[in-house]
Amino acid sequence: MSLINRGLAAFLFTTVICFGLSVEKVHSNDFVSGAEKFITALAAKAEKSLLSEEIKPIEHQKRFRKLMLDSFDLNGVGKWVIGRYWRRSSKHERAEYLNLFEEFIVATYSKRFRGYTKAKLQINGATKRKTAAFVNSQINREGAKPIRIIWRVKLLNGEYKIADIIIEGISWIQTQRSEFISVIRNNGGKISGLIKALRKKIIYLTSEKK
């Protein structure tokens, strides 16, 4: 297959390193520098609480979930990745879908945050575009090109939340959206098809031995 490349490598590798950070109440007017501090603090916290070898898997997953819920706009992302189908779904379906989306993210990424203990996130400043701050960063690796990561950060109810991670030009939410919409389309435009697929995938991911 001719896919390939660092961009891709980076995509999965980094979703790994970066989740999670405590809630930080924001009163500062300086949205952009606040966003930068938020990501810096996130990296430190993730490193401290997730990337240590001693934690047991169950405790690790618990911490991962907490960090992720605290630092990601998970509901916003969950809604965006199914596009117009959000409006077409019932209240019950929405609640079920958002719940499964969270489980899916935890099942997919929590394991990947184990083991990459040596990577360090270096923050390289931030810029503002429309309502979001884009925090530039990179992960340095020995003997290899650094991986470029851009964090899309928003201010929601006075708290910073991550709305996307763009690794070597590859957007996490964009990729997720393509996949989810494809599943819905292939199930007659029904969100129930996606719900079924997510449930199956979560069972598969959580039962997998590692």
């Binding site: 001719s2 896919l3 891709l8 995509f11 575009r129 070597e168 393509s178 919409i181």
Partner: protein, 254 residues
């Protein structure tokens, strides 16, 4: 709030969605994708697994560096065709350093000395010239592509001096060996990513399609994110300046 059970297939939103997906022959593409998956599972993956088992990563890196180095003329030609003088200079320096100090290209000394690796191909060159990508295309064995990038691949192989030489002196084994080793090297370098992606995706085909486009877009813009250097009809990524606040999705956000 409408609660229609299934989406009508001819409204404005559906048409927009289809335009973004830009995959008019999806059933055929999926068929070829399944075929490729079969070939991968039966041949490419086992052979690459063997390669990974026999050779330590230092040797595999050397193989990769060597293949990279002999690709220099094609990269240089495309640097020049895109008017990228600085990049052309880097490509020349890399070739000089890696062919000598780097022992015939086995070691990538140039990167350590500040001349970083980059990739250019004729598909990217055409994109810079304003040629659109066209619909998504899954090629047998070669994988995800589109008409522009597929033509680009053919042009690149015609530009390649090693191919020209091998053709002239009837040494077909040279390009064949290079293609086979190159394929194994590529598969090796995305080994973990594909494993992870296949495990965690709920529509592997759609995930690959999205990743391929985003990655090409990144390569075409040389990582600058410069919109003017992006492929003209890459609708899927171009439309997301601020995705969580898109016009129709007013229910998004708290």
């Amino acid at each position: 709030m409408t609660n229609c059970a299934s989406a009508p297939e001819n409204d404005e939103e559906t048409l927009l969605e289809l335009k973004k997906i830009n995959d008019p022959i999806e059933p055929t593409n999926r068929f070829i994708f399944d075929f490729n998956q079969g070939v991968d599972g039966a041949i490419i993956k086992p052979v690459t697994g063997l390669y990974r088992g026999i050779f330590p990563s230092a040797i595999r890196d050397s193989v990769h560096n060597f293949l990279d180095n002999i690709k220099t003329p094609v990269v240089l030609a495309n640097d020049i065709l895109q008017g990228e003088a600085n990049r052309a200079g880097t490509t020349i320096m890399r070739f000089l350093i890696n062919s000598s100090v780097g022992i015939a290209g086995l070691r990538d000394q140039a990167t350590a000395w500040g001349f970083e690796d980059h990739d250019e191909d004729f598909g990217q060159t055409m994109a810079v010239w304003g040629v659109g990508e066209g619909p998504y295309l899954m090629l047998p064995i070669l994988g995800p592509s589109n008409p522009r990038d597929a033509i680009g691949k053919v042009v690149d192989s015609l530009l390649d001096p090693i191919n020209l030489w091998a053709d002239n002196v009837d040494r077909e084994w040279v390009p064949i060996t290079r293609t086979v080793v190159g394929g194994i090297d590529k598969r090796d370098r995305i080994w973990d990513i594909l494993n992870d992606l296949e495990k965690s995706s709920i529509d592997y085909y759609a995930a690959i399609r999205s990743l391929y486009r985003q990655k090409r877009n990144e390569e075409i813009s040389n990582g600058s994110g410069d919109k003017n250097r992006k492929t003209p009809n890459l609708a899927e990524t171009a439309a997301i300046e601020d995705p969580l606040h898109e016009r129709r999705n007013s229910t998004v956000g708290p």
